[in-house]
Symmetry: C2
Subunit: 416 residues, 2 copies
């Protein structure tokens, strides 16, 4: 199918910092080529010895074979990474014993070709769920070819190679100065539908030449994921393959971060968050059929978790998302969504703002309500919805897109 | 706006049994007339002395003033009913102190005109949420007029008077023989969007001339609601006004049911369920923009509640609902929805059927999978999705409709 590019698509792929200590290559195993689309569909990244890694994965109980392997490898390998290989075209989820055979074949090829331990190799696959695999070696067979082409990463090609219904490749980077060392971060992501804040919510990888112990890397990633990828939603649906991983090669030359009390841990975490937030915003802006993006903040809730629960009810409501699409400032539907979150609220203190326009106050429409001003906000491509629920001091922000005809079209046509 | 009639709209409104012991009237307070639409927008039903009643209401924490009053009246009045008045055009939800004034004005008018106790009067309002009320007496003012017109109910006119985005009026009835007495049931419902299985999920009233103690009536209604109105979903959104009530006048002449052990209690409950299930199916078939309806059954779950949770994840998934609309038998999305219910499952024993076509078995695509056969099921207007999760003996069925361009259109245009 032909996908209309998101109105938020950037003019060009950003220039990303050249994180040191890794090599990459991408290639085509023919999945898209057979459909007349010229693009790669598999990529390999290899890491210098000593690279640490961390990962957060889908909470789905029908997680893909790749996700289950990554969890196992992270545990067995002690947070060390040698290689990452990802392919699009088939998600290897719900593929039964054959899904495990595919992993085994891929890992064997990586181990033999690169001379690395299997438990330091990470796998990812994205595409249709449940499509059986005719040949378990459909990724492994390409490892020697990819290994022969390894070099400085072409981030845009990598980012394109794992796109599915994405309308643009997603990349973000930053450079942090950590005690004199220039530490580089480069990240890529794919994701467009089946996005919900229950885990990492798509595939995303951040590569950095920072030096950091694996358990600290995991702690930083968990914290960052909650405030970025776990705070975006397109349709409330959670994928079987959602993965966010970070690889730290240590090649920047900085002394390793070994304690959360270390001030450098905070600097590192902040830089990681910068990259992840940028990538997460690109994912929600490429939400299937999206024409608008809203930042939804709930404040004065019983707790931050309660605020997030209420914010997610707003962000996932089809009635609010269709009103967004139509530019109809139908604030009564916000009241509905707050009510069905079943979290503590003081209904008589409920207040709602669209950008700076207050539409509700003290549990009723604001006395100075201005429909034209409210509608003007909903006419914008990006705007904020803020709700105060009067039950405490908890606060949370999530991001969502609208529900348009495009979403219905894309999800009726994808797969076929 | 002009609504395209649901493809499931019946050719005509059904003939309903003439339940005895009540009178009704409907009228226009001008809400739709001002928009050039010829229909009533308010109805009144009065009951013979001794009528008992029961109700289940939205769980929303931003429930309408009318719902809050009904809960209070049911408690204060001991389950006795004298009158019911319902209006469309404004939901009286999130209307602050004025919403309470509207109720007070309506109840005063009912008490004065009919000579009945306020706590035996039940109220309902449906329409846009949060629209302020210019005149609190906007319903009360019509009570004398309606009271002057009371007579044998014109069920179709009543059912039309509280429609909002419904494309057809909904009615269902049955006649049960209870120990020689002919007991009549007549029910009406409205509801099309903002339908989710968290409570009664729309406005619906069942009138019967059975004789039954109020606490038994409540018990029967609760049980029936769980298996009917609380098992349908259109969009996962829950209204601030959802109400299901049953009124039993006793005018059939049967001796009152006074115990749950009484076999007649079961007969009564079964008849009530017949009517509620028929009405609930009419609501889901009139789901905003619906072109297809699916019966979703989850079996072999850890418990009936677990089965229902998984079934609702399937029923509410936008990805599955858009696939239904497109006639794309994308069964991998069922796997996704089962995974994100976070209920106990044995992923390797997962099996899925579309009608009688098995598409998945033992946690993978069925070896004899037949895409043409699966697609033929998804091409039908009504079909069944059955999932076995291999974790126990719990079973539940819910009903849902598809997500079409019509839903996006209707919910972008409603209110304006």
């Amino acid at each position: 199918m032909n996908l209309t590019p998101s109105p938020f698509a950037p003019a060009s792929f950003p220039a990303l910092p050249a994180a040191r200590g890794l090599k990459a290559a991408s290639g085509s195993r023919g999945f898209y080529a057979r459909r007349g689309i010229e693009r790669d569909d598999v990529f390999l990244v290899t890491f210098d010895p000593g690279t640490t890694c961390a990962g957060v994965y889908t909470r789905s109980l029908t997680a893909s074979a790749d996700v289950r392997w990554c969890r196992e490898a992270l545990e067995a390998g002690g947070g060390k990474a040698a290689a990452l290989i990802a392919n699009s075209g088939n998600s290897n989820a719900f593929t039964g014993p054959k899904g495990v055979l595919k992993n085994e074949a891929t890992l064997t090829a990586l181990a033999q070709t690169l001379g690395v331990a299997k438990e330091q190799c990470f796998l990812a696959a994205t595409g249709v769920i449940g499509e059986p695999l005719s040949d378990p070696n459909y990724v492994g067979a390409f490892v020697p070819d990819l290994a022969g082409k390894l070099g400085a990463p072409d981030w845009e090609k990598l980012a394109r190679a794992f796109m599915t219904t994405d309308t643009y490749p997603k990349g973000a980077g930053t450079v942090a100065s950590i005690e004199g060392a220039e530490v580089r971060f480069a990240g890529i992501a794919k994701g467009s539908g089946m996005i919900a804040p229950n885990m990492a919510t798509m595939l995303s990888y951040v590569f950095t030449d920072a030096a950091i112990a694996p358990e600290l890397l995991q702690s930083a990633l968990k914290q960052v994921a909650d405030e970025t990828f776990n705070s975006i939603t397109v349709d409330g649906d959670t994928s079987t393959s959602d993965t966010l991983m970070v690889f730290a090669t240590g090649a920047s030359g900085m002394a390793p971060v070994t304690s959360e009390e270390d001030l450098r841990f905070r600097t590192f975490t902040a830089a990681l968050k910068t990259v992840c937030l940028d990538l997460a915003m690109q994912v929600v802006k490429d939400g299937e059929g999206a024409s608008k993006v809203a930042t939804i903040t709930v404040e004065d809730a019983a707790s931050p978790a309660s605020a997030k629960k209420i914010a997610c009810e707003i962000a996932n409501s089809p009635l609010i998302k269709t009103a967004m699409a139509a530019g109809d400032a139908n604030w009564g539907r916000i009241v509905m969504a707050v009510g069905k979150a079943y979290e503590p609220i003081e209904a008589d203190r409920l207040a709602i703002w669209f950008d700076d326009v207050q539409v509700a106050r003290d549990g009723a429409r604001a006395p100075d309500y201005d429909e034209a001003a409210a509608s003007a906000v909903f006419a914008k491509a990006e705007f904020a919805i803020r709700v105060s629920v009067g039950a405490g001091t908890g606060r949370a922000t999530v991001w969502t897109c609208d529900l348009t005809h495009g979403y219905v079209d894309i999800n009726g046509a994808y797969r076929t």
